[in-house]
Symmetry: C2
């Protein structure tokens, strides 16, 4: 027998509505919904129901590196800080870091993330326990040994059986992955129908180096290799010309915009206006905590809108569009039948407290959601018909915070002994 | 007899400390502090104490216009949306809007704001009741009639007797205030030692129009009129050359950086690197809710840092500097002997919950404060030795929210009848 939830008297599109969830889907909205008997009844009065956020590019376990190295340029940041720190972390750290990330995401209304990290079977365990959705990319770089590559591909073959989680193959970027490894990654992914997730044209240096090495740009080079297709999720995509955008559109590649990371690392401004004109599928991601330094999709959407306006005029990227990028476009890109509050859709939702001081007045709900509130206004988060947070409480959160602290203290002790 | 507060076991610069407040000042930090008997004892364990935020440019009552008109260019936004809305609001609306603003600011760790609005005796009443500090600029524009001008100047003469609130004179901008009115404003302000607060070089259009009208730039024109001095607070200052920055420095003018408003209205990017090089006193402001759409100084500081990095490189505007802009520089600009947690200083502070999921790990407290947390991590706010918020509760908040809603509903009814 399926679990059932009845949300009573919640504001949907400005009208008080009852919503009945059966199993993992919205079964009935309005009308007869109120007559349903349910295992769980939520009093939705004083709250609005909206789609939750889908974070299309992050490195969840990097919460452990939050604030570890700020205000530094990308390549130095990677070489001198991030990679040496990562050399000290264990599989348990990856699991704990991912749990902290899940906690933070749930508390800011996010139900899904597209990840790229090492040993991502540990991330799987964290996501599974926390009840979120995820697409977990196993990272490939040339320096990986054959044992690790075999382990990853084996994991991919087995995959899991979760209806919320899947693996993808994540060749890191064109400057860390050889042509041969790109081909192996694509073959393995396509054999099992997994997605390909990678960084693309993030910095000017990446493009310049690619020109020097291959005589062409990263997008064109990957296309020449036959990599680009509708199963591809390309993060960043900052330094691209219109022809490259048209190519990405033609191949059906999903673009992930990561404005905060791009600005903080000074990678450059995303060409928002040209991307909109290209009709590519655009999603939004927070990138990892080490370059943001949080996983708050609301903040990401606001900064995306601000950056677009300052570069192209105040009408560019209106608030409804950036909300779609952060919600339904993310669901669509990952084949999740959700992203709107509608009968038959997967029951993913967040409930927003309308009496939060930043929700008042409410001339425009979506404007308040993106431009005004903080995560504090998110009261309840539902993912796949299961309540992950209610009244801003997430099960086990104090333990997760304590364990994450212990992990970092241990890593610091190891590092200080060197 | 003075009120006394003892904050026990709070983290100050990473060490557990007892802090004793007597009246409106920090009397004793560490050592003998713990032996003091106090009227109020706060358990500070699990929290860090840091200076609170000083919001150096806003229009508090415009909370009522939050989300009322987004994604529109500045002059159309003013002429077609903001000014017509303002034509419908009453003095009571101004009071209620300011109370909502105070509530929002307290809940995000702000204890002071520098305001510019109409009928600011109503704002005074709100600030006084809420226990904050403020400098309240009475707005002057050419369209004001002599009765209103006389009312304002009379208010200024009387001033109040609060140790937390003062009036200033706020000629709106060079494009709304004639040379003659600028002179009257400066004379009246200087007669009573009040500050002058204005918008300056906010848009390219303002500079171009000034060139056409006066043959020079806004900064140079105001200096020619003898306006610029150490009593001046200039908001925005986006479109200035190095010579103008040197002139502002020489005259001792305080610059208020409002990154979110500048980006949202597409006014342009603040020349952060050149401003830092000019050694002007720089502060941070949220501008009004109608162009932001909140009053969150933490978010403002993060966006200031992001914008600076993307435009000038990742080392520009490091996190400690932007935190100073948002805290101690604001206090200094307004002659408030606060902005640091030190014996003898005015007792302004916020207590941050270290177990908030976004404060973990804590490699760098200030980095977490600016780049990571939301207002939810701010547990307690103290202003002038008085507790304005504890455990995230502010006295009377439900009433403030309800009254603000009623105001906006009434304004909408009035507007829809036209």
């Amino acid at each position: 027998m399926n679990n059932t939830i009845l949300i009573k008297n919640v504001s949907l599109d400005g009208k008080p509505t009852d919503i009945y969830i059966e199993g993992n889907r919205f079964k009935k909205i309005g009308g007869a919904a109120s007559q349903q008997a349910a295992d769980t009844v939520i009093d939705g009065s004083g709250m609005a129901i909206v789609p939750p956020y889908y974070n299309a590019h992050t490195h969840a376990s990097m919460t452990l590196m939050r604030g570890y190295a700020d205000d530094i340029e990308l390549f130095r940041w990677l070489n001198e800080y991030i990679w040496p720190f990562e050399a000290k972390i264990t599989e348990r750290d990856i699991y704990i870091g991912a749990k902290l990330a899940c906690l933070e995401m749930i508390k800011s209304g996010t139900v899904f993330f597209n990840d790229m990290y090492w040993h991502c079977d540990n991330v799987w365990r964290a996501v599974d326990e926390m009840g979120m959705r995820a697409c977990l990319g196993m990272t490939f770089v040339d320096s990986l040994d054959e044992k690790d590559i075999a382990y990853n591909f084996d994991l991919l073959q087995k995959n899991g059986t979760s209806d919320r989680i899947e693996y993808s193959v994540a060749p890191h970027a064109i400057y860390t992955v050889s042509e041969q490894l790109w081909h192996r990654c694509a073959e393995q992914a396509r054999r099992v129908g997994a997605r390909l997730h990678f960084h693309l044209s993030e910095t000017r240096k990446e493009v310049d180096d690619c020109m020097a090495a291959h005589g062409t740009t990263p997008v064109r080079w990957l296309d020449k290799l036959g990599i680009l297709g509708p199963d591809c999720i390309a993060a960043h995509v900052v330094h691209v010309d219109d022809e490259e955008l048209a190519l990405l559109r033609e191949r059906g590649v999903t673009i992930v915009h990561n404005p905060i990371s791009n600005m903080k690392l000074a990678s450059g401004y995303f060409p928002t206006k040209r991307v909109i004109r290209s009709h590519c599928l655009v999603t939004l991601g927070t990138d990892g905590c080490s370059s943001n330094n949080n996983l708050d999709m609301r903040e990401e959407a606001k900064v995306a809108a601000l950056m677009a306006k300052c570069n192209y005029g105040p009408q560019t990227l209106p608030v409804d569009m950036v909300f779609d990028w952060a919600t339904r476009n993310g669901a669509r890109a990952f084949g999740i039948d959700a992203g709107e509050i509608a009968e038959g859709k997967l029951a993913d939702a967040m409930l927003i407290r309308l009496d939060n001081e930043r929700m008042v007045p409410c001339h425009n709900l979506i404007s308040n959601l993106i431009y005004s509130v903080s995560n504090e206004a998110v009261d309840t988060v539902i993912c796949n018909g299961r309540i992950l947070m209610q009244g801003r409480r997430v099960a086990g959160e104090a333990d997760i915070v304590a364990e994450a602290r212990e992990c970092c203290e241990r890593i610091e002790r190891v590092k200080s002994k060197e």
